[in-house]
């Protein structure tokens, strides 16, 4: 049963918009699979942002019209996409040079857990018998690219996802810059986690109760 209390906070589109607002004009951006893909729909009018997909395309456009799909034009999630005028294709070593050489400006990813130090776990739950698969996640977070995480504040079971220490296998240590959840936007700083914005009707204490790590307020 969905109670009123569970409906509180930002929608997924609101979260994507919050992240999109923090991406300046002229940025090169890599979007992870799933919720992060929504960010592309919320970039404000007048900002030109170029999307990178690590399978070899800079200038990724939206999904093609039905019947226009090309099996050789896909994104990292293996979904059909388009290429904008001015796009370019390249091989995997060049693509990951853009990532590992810090040429990409922003990356938006999903998360299983984020720690108070900005450690990220988003590739494996470590469950026995699971097939491990990492893709490009560890490469994306390892350098100086600004890492935005978009995630529900808690799991479906209500467990905190923003924790003191990640219990799932790490993708990278001290890598997350900002967390965009349905309850708050939270900056990861040397001194800890700082709540920058609260969703309408949500209090700081309400967010803290649903967060294992200690939160701070900007003064």
């Amino acid at each position: 049963m969905v109670t009123k209390a569970e409906k509180i906070g930002w929608s997924v589109d609101d979260m994507a918009r919050n992240a999109a607002m923090d991406i300046p004009n002229g940025s090169y951006v890599n979007l992870g699979i799933g919720m992060p893909e929504l960010v592309a729909s919320h970039v404000p009018e007048g900002r030109e942002v170029i999307y990178h997909t690590e399978n070899g395309l800079l200038g990724m456009g939206p999904a093609p019209a039905e019947g226009q799909e090309d099996p050789e034009l896909i994104n990292a999630g293996k979904k059909h996409v388009t290429a904008i005028p001015g796009a370019c294709y390249f091989h995997h070593a060049d693509s990951f040079t853009m990532i590992r050489g810090n040429h990409i400006d922003f990356c938006v990813l999903g998360a299983f857990q984020v720690s108070e130090k900005g450690d990220l776990a988003n590739w494996s739950t470590g469950a026995p018998g699971a097939i491990p698969a990492v893709g490009g996640a560890m490469d994306l977070v390892a350098g100086d690219i600004k890492i935005f995480v978009i995630s529900r504040h808690t799991t479906k079971e209500g467990e905190p996802k923003i924790v003191k220490e990640c219990t799932y296998p790490l993708t990278g240590r001290r890598v997350v810059d900002t967390i965009y959840t349905d309850l708050a936007t939270i900056d990861v700083k040397e001194e800890g986690l700082f709540v920058r914005e609260l969703a309408p009707g949500v209090t700081f204490d309400y967010v803290q109760e649903r967060t294992e790590a200690k939160l701070h307020q900007y003064t």
Binding site: N55, G56, P71, E72, H92, A93
Partner: protein
């Protein structure tokens, strides 16, 4: 006269031997040389180590090669996809080895192999389970993990057009691992949708210089893996 063109996929893969290390291009179905893989299944080489980003879909292409128990070990970044059934099953039963590599590290291990570099340092995977047991070193206050290069005996690659010197151009995001895998093997075998006359490929636009390519075979109407998977086709048919 230099002529790297061979008549058939069967001829192209004839010399692949048991125990060989084989790189296979592609990211999902995009760029996967499905006809060369099927020829390799027919040819029979086994005990292979295969380096490819994924492990194939359904029961065709790379998934079929694995299903026929020709692959001892997979080196890849993402061994499961929406329609991958074969690898997960064998892996859960302990019947195939897996070396999981971050995608950029995989690309660089292949590229550096082609460039004659034995190992390199990267920050990717530092502090994670994938760095365990590897040499760690600091440069300028940053921590890096040492990764060893990979070289292959053979690469199987798909491209859009080739000439008899082995110059190649690709199609969109089907390029992915193709160019670096061409550089990274003793013998590089390419299936091209079209073979063109020398001079037809614009020298300014050639992506893979022919020096990296050993054999080229024309497959003018390559199968679409996703369609075969949707029809639940199984190789050999």
């Amino acid at each position: 006269m230099i002529n790297k063109i061979v008549a058939s996929p069967a001829e192209a893969v004839a010399e692949i031997f048991d125990g060989a290390v084989v790189m296979i291009s592609g990211f999902g179905e995009a760029g996967s040389p499905i006809e060369l893989i099927h020829a390799l299944i027919d040819q029979g080489a086994k005990d292979l180590t295969v380096i490819s980003n994924n492990t194939g879909s359904g029961h065709v292409g790379l998934a079929a090669l694995i299903a026929h128990r020709r692959v001892r070990k997979m080196i890849c970044s993402f061994p499961r996809t929406a329609n991958s059934k074969v690898f997960p099953e064998l892996y859960k039963n302990g019947e195939i080895e897996l070396e999981l590599v971050p995608q950029g590290t995989l690309a660089e291990r292949i590229r550096s192999g082609g460039a004659g570099i034995p190992a390199f340092y990267t920050p990717t995977s530092v502090g994670t389970p994938l760095a365990e047991g590897k040499e760690i070193r600091e440069f300028d206050g940053q921590t890096y993990v040492m990764e060893r290069t990979i070289r292959a005996d053979f690469s199987l690659v798909k491209c859009k057009a080739a000439d008899r010197y082995g110059n190649l151009v690709y199609s969109k995001t089907a390029r992915n691992f193709g160019p670096i895998m061409c550089m990274g093997a003793e013998t590089t075998i390419v299936q091209a949708k079209k073979i063109v006359e020398l001079g037809e490929l614009d020298p300014e636009a050639v992506v893979t210089p022919g020096i990296f390519v050993s054999k080229v075979v024309e497959v003018s109407n390559p199968a679409e893996e996703s369609k075969l998977v949707a029809e639940d086709r199984r190789y050999p048919w």
